[in-house]
């Protein structure tokens, strides 16, 4: 047990370390100077620009040797300091990200979990009859093959513009400031629905397919045959097959996380949903290296934590891994 998790943790730590390093390296060794951009946007008089340029250079600690910058970067990180945003100067990156984070949780967790449960249930259901299978299978494949943004665009167009059922931009009405009132909560949900739906649908397809294939394999396995030979009702056999097929689906969830993040990113862009994905786009368009770094780190941390959570769940639900590990220590 210990060994297993120790191993996993090691991997995650190394990953984190590398990620942070990459994250730090890229902006510094790529062309273009953030401060130039900041000054460029300020539209200053030439005479003053020169002074302000050097002022910013040290304000962002870009005037010290590279290796020192790297160390500073780490020590700052460990103090929860992600630097200052260029795009939203002079706000601290961490503040901007924390403001966006709730929206991501609010959007992603339900989308991921619900699609996972629903998809698995549905896939198992589909595996029952040939007819169902033939209708569901193509549908599922089409859904998984749909680019997140395209589905988003279609939904926004259909329900936001053509039928005008749902708003398709922002997290709540422009006419409101955040507040604990039913009107506001309703507005939140209204704006939440379309992005949620497009994420949900694409993922749903994937899980349904996955489960369907898994079940088919399971129903072909020996224990299934044996139960049949003992005249066990299909219900029981399916139950077992489903339980066993779920396990790989849990690992699948871990493997999918990266893709899901990407999906969330573009979905937020399509719907101007103020999560981290949307921040990333803004950071890119406004060349806010520091914000971009911050977002990337948050995504990494999120993904790593999710992975670890999944590892734990897996161990909890699959007796084999558990026993295997007890054997180890």
């Amino acid at each position: 047990m210990k060994r297993y998790f120790g191993r996993k943790l090691a991997i995650y730590l190394v990953t984190f370390f590398l990620a942070v390093t990459i994250d730090w390296i890229i902006p510094r060794f790529m062309p273009g100077n953030p401060v130039q951009i900041l000054v460029a946007r300020a539209g200053l008089k030439a005479e003053s620009a020169k002074l302000i340029y050097s002022h910013y250079m040290q304000a962002f600690g870009l005037d010290v040797p590279i290796w020192k910058q790297y160390l500073n970067f780490w020590s700052a990180l460990l103090h929860g300091d992600f630097g200052t945003s260029l795009w939203l100067f002079p706000q601290p990156v961490i503040k901007i990200i924390l403001r966006a984070l709730p929206y991501d949780i609010f959007l992603l967790l339900p989308a991921i979990l619900l699609s996972w449960f629903a998809g698995n249930k549905f896939g198992a259901f589909a595996a029952r009859s040939k007819r169902l299978d033939n209708t569901v299978l193509p549908l599922g494949y089409i859904l998984t093959a749909t680019p997140y943004m395209w589905l988003g665009i279609l939904l926004a167009w259909a329900f936001g513009i053509v039928f005008r059922i749902f708003p398709f931009s922002g997290a709540y009405s422009y006419a409101m400031m955040p507040q604990l009132t039913w009107a506001f909560i309703w507005s939140l949900l209204e704006h939440w629905f379309l992005p949620f739906a497009s994420l949900f649908m694409v993922m749903f397809g994937g899980w349904a397919i996955g489960m369907r294939n898994m079940i088919i394999y399971e129903l072909e396995s020996d224990y299934a045959h044996y139960l049949e030979a003992l005249g066990a009702p299909r219900k029981l056999i399916r139950k077992y097959a489903f339980r066993n097929a779920i396990l790989p689906q849990i690992t699948g969830l871990a493997l999918q996380l990266g893709v899901i993040v990407a999906g969330a990113l573009v979905t937020e862009i399509v719907f101007n949903y103020p999560g981290i994905g949307y921040l990333i786009l803004q950071a890119i368009q406004n060349h806010d290296f520091f914000l971009l770094q911050g977002c990337f780190l948050f995504v990494i941390i999120g993904v790593l934590m999710a992975n670890f959570a999944i590892d734990v769940t897996y161990v909890l639900v699959d007796p084999r891994t558990r026993a295997g590990m007890e054997g180890k220590n």
């Binding site: 020996d222 224990y223 045959h225 139960l227 049949e228 030979a229 007796p319």
Partner: protein
Amino acid sequence: MSLRVENLTVTYRTLRGDVRALERATFGVGDGEIMGIAGESGCGKTTLGTSLTLLKPPMRFVEGRVTLDGEELPIWDTEAMNASRFRKVSIIPQYAMNAMNPTRKIGKMISELLRAKKADQKTGLRELRRRLELVELAENVLTMYPFELSGGMKQRMVMVLSTLLNPSLLIADEITSALDVSTQKAVAEMLVGFRDHKIVKSIIVITHDISILYQIADSILIMYAGQLAEKAATDVIIGAPRHPYTKLLISSLPKVGVKYSEQRLAGIPGSPPLLLDPPQGCRFRERCPVAFDRCPEVPPFVEVEKGHFIACWKEPVTHA
């Protein structure tokens, strides 16, 4: 006669056409009889076993009649058979090693199975404990997962499970092939034990290994290429076989206990016919040393002496 099989013909559906794996099999198994079925791999013995328990696509039921204890088994109807499976007919499959759901505690699985079969839980589980002793398994295996058991333990566990509802017929398919010699013996004797304790009426033992049958079987049925060749009491088959194939089979055994299927039949030139479209008549005839012009007709499986059946035109009785 507890089991009666008449003209049972079963084929395998493939895109290339039907494989005639079992041809008009007719035989019986008496109360308390342990009958072995032997033959080269692909001779149809497993097909016979499965068609008696779980006959489903790609297997196809062509014709025939199976009665057990006087009443007919609807083996052609996968659903209707469910009632009889486990209760009347049960099987210990070849793959006993991984016949149990890997992610379920064994005890839990069994009770779930019993509940699903609407069998009485209490007595069922009490019986289960008793039988575990019988096969020398500690009771705590019920709280274990299959992968925590050794091969032999799994094997025995499956034996207990398959016979839990006292089926009148038990089919044991290659149960020993996966085990080492010492356990083989033990497992084989347990089979006999089942019979002696009246847990099961009669047993069909399908195997490669005639030596096992020599130990436990009352009678042996020899099959070749989907057809029945010869059936007789064990000592007769070993001592005085009459069907040319049986003769070659037995003689080609250097000594009892060798699984002949591993070596090509030294004495017999050629190899078994493909069953996609088998030759007319006796399927052994190309390889048969004594084949003659009558052989292209299918020889009937007739009783030449009490309890001794043979399908061969060389037998005087068949001429009559």
